[in-house]
Symmetry: C2
Subunit: 262 residues, 2 copies
Amino acid sequence: MSFATLQVPVAPIRFVPIQPESGARAPTALKTHCSSCHLRELCLPCGLEPEDVTHLDHLGFGRRRVKSGSTLYHEGSSFKFIFAVRSGTFKSSLALSDGREQVSGFHVAGELMGLDGVAHGTHASSSIALEDSEICAIPYTQLTEMSEGSSSLQRSVSRLMSREIVREHTLMLLLGSMNADERLAAFLLNLSQRLKSLGYSASEFHLRMSRAEIGSYLGMTLETVSRTFSSFQQRHLMEVDKRHICITDMDGLKRTFETRMR
Amino acid sequence: MSFATLQVPVAPIRFVPIQPESGARAPTALKTHCSSCHLRELCLPCGLEPEDVTHLDHLGFGRRRVKSGSTLYHEGSSFKFIFAVRSGTFKSSLALSDGREQVSGFHVAGELMGLDGVAHGTHASSSIALEDSEICAIPYTQLTEMSEGSSSLQRSVSRLMSREIVREHTLMLLLGSMNADERLAAFLLNLSQRLKSLGYSASEFHLRMSRAEIGSYLGMTLETVSRTFSSFQQRHLMEVDKRHICITDMDGLKRTFETRMR
DNA sequence: CGTCTTTTTGAATACTGTCAATTTAAGTGG
DNA sequence: CCACTTAAATTGACAGTATTCAAAAAGACG
């Protein structure tokens, strides 16, 4: 299982203002405001008080475009920002010393990345864009300073970190006690849910990650991932055309998953 | 793989004062102070300022004995405390709906439990003592209230949560990309390190968990765990007598582990 | 249009899981 | 204290699943 092809060159990341659709309007400022963000309800959602949103606005988040394949931050690099995905998809991964990679997560709009950096001040994983994407960079130092004055903001940040722990618990459970069918079904159902909550179709979507990346995430080889997709199609649970997925029997897929997890 | 035997009865937990060795002295108070704790250096170690330790003292942690096999907190129960292990060993686990359990962690002295409860206000896992143990119960609400006044304390709490995320990353890597030999070797080396940092022998120790619990944690069956122990012994990497382990070739064990992780 | 990457599929192998039997240890009660 | 019961660990045989190696097909990209 070679991941040489996944070790994409690291393009330097620049702060690039998002250009408005029409050249007639003035270029959008470098700073973005939470209160007017279209992800407002999703991004820092766990009961953030209106006053805290105002606080966040004062931070004036840096907003960046990240091109497909480029690295947002590197494992081991200095931790300065928490990143919120505005649009697009990212993968988090750890490098194994023999050159392989272990994918530890996929992130879509509204999700946070980089919380593992708080522990030691350096990022414990790398983050790479799987398509052209946009992120908000939240300066962590300023966030903590600000949350000293707001207990509700502080609680929110704590909750977000704890959520991450719970998420990883679930993944461990998945890796520790499920077979190939169940793992892929669990992965697809989870992704489907997340896309649905973003307003996209829960049954039809385009995977932004390769079979190898899915396999790494789920603890199986890319061949097994491919075979399992084929098996799902033969069982009429979904239509699969490369990365385009159309789930035709959501309940059947859930049953596959629940065979063991019941 | 039956876990019926692991579903120990839930003994009610009582706050029990620790009795001094000699009856001559007055009974120890219900409250414990961090500043005089023998785990002071290990428990909340990430750069806690002296003033913060004083703050913590004002909380007057509840100190409990937890008998072997009894449950400290239940998955789904209301989250009130973070628990620090003073002595003994605990396992964290999630219940699968078919009655099996997935072990998500083992905890020895100086380690924290329950941080996954911050997310939703209920514990996401259960914690069960694997031997007679002692814990400190840290009231979370008071901890957050207090950390509003102390940025260094707040940072420490954040770091501890992030550590937990990093720890789980590592475990995912283990579950996702290693074979049975490597998993058990990684587990034993990790445990060895933690015991060493507590002042115990790194090479000789007594496992407090069953083969089934190790297997659940590492994503393999208890039979495979047992076979792998036997294999290690045949390869003269260690002496194994049930739960008593004596690592005789630490470097060899590390090599087993690094065969793939190099 | 050719090259490189990704995906699919087949065949053989290896590893781990399952089932079952045995041994050893631990706990219980007479 | 010993017989009895129950639980934990070991080991063997076999089955099944996933990996490895290999080849071909289908896109993606310059």
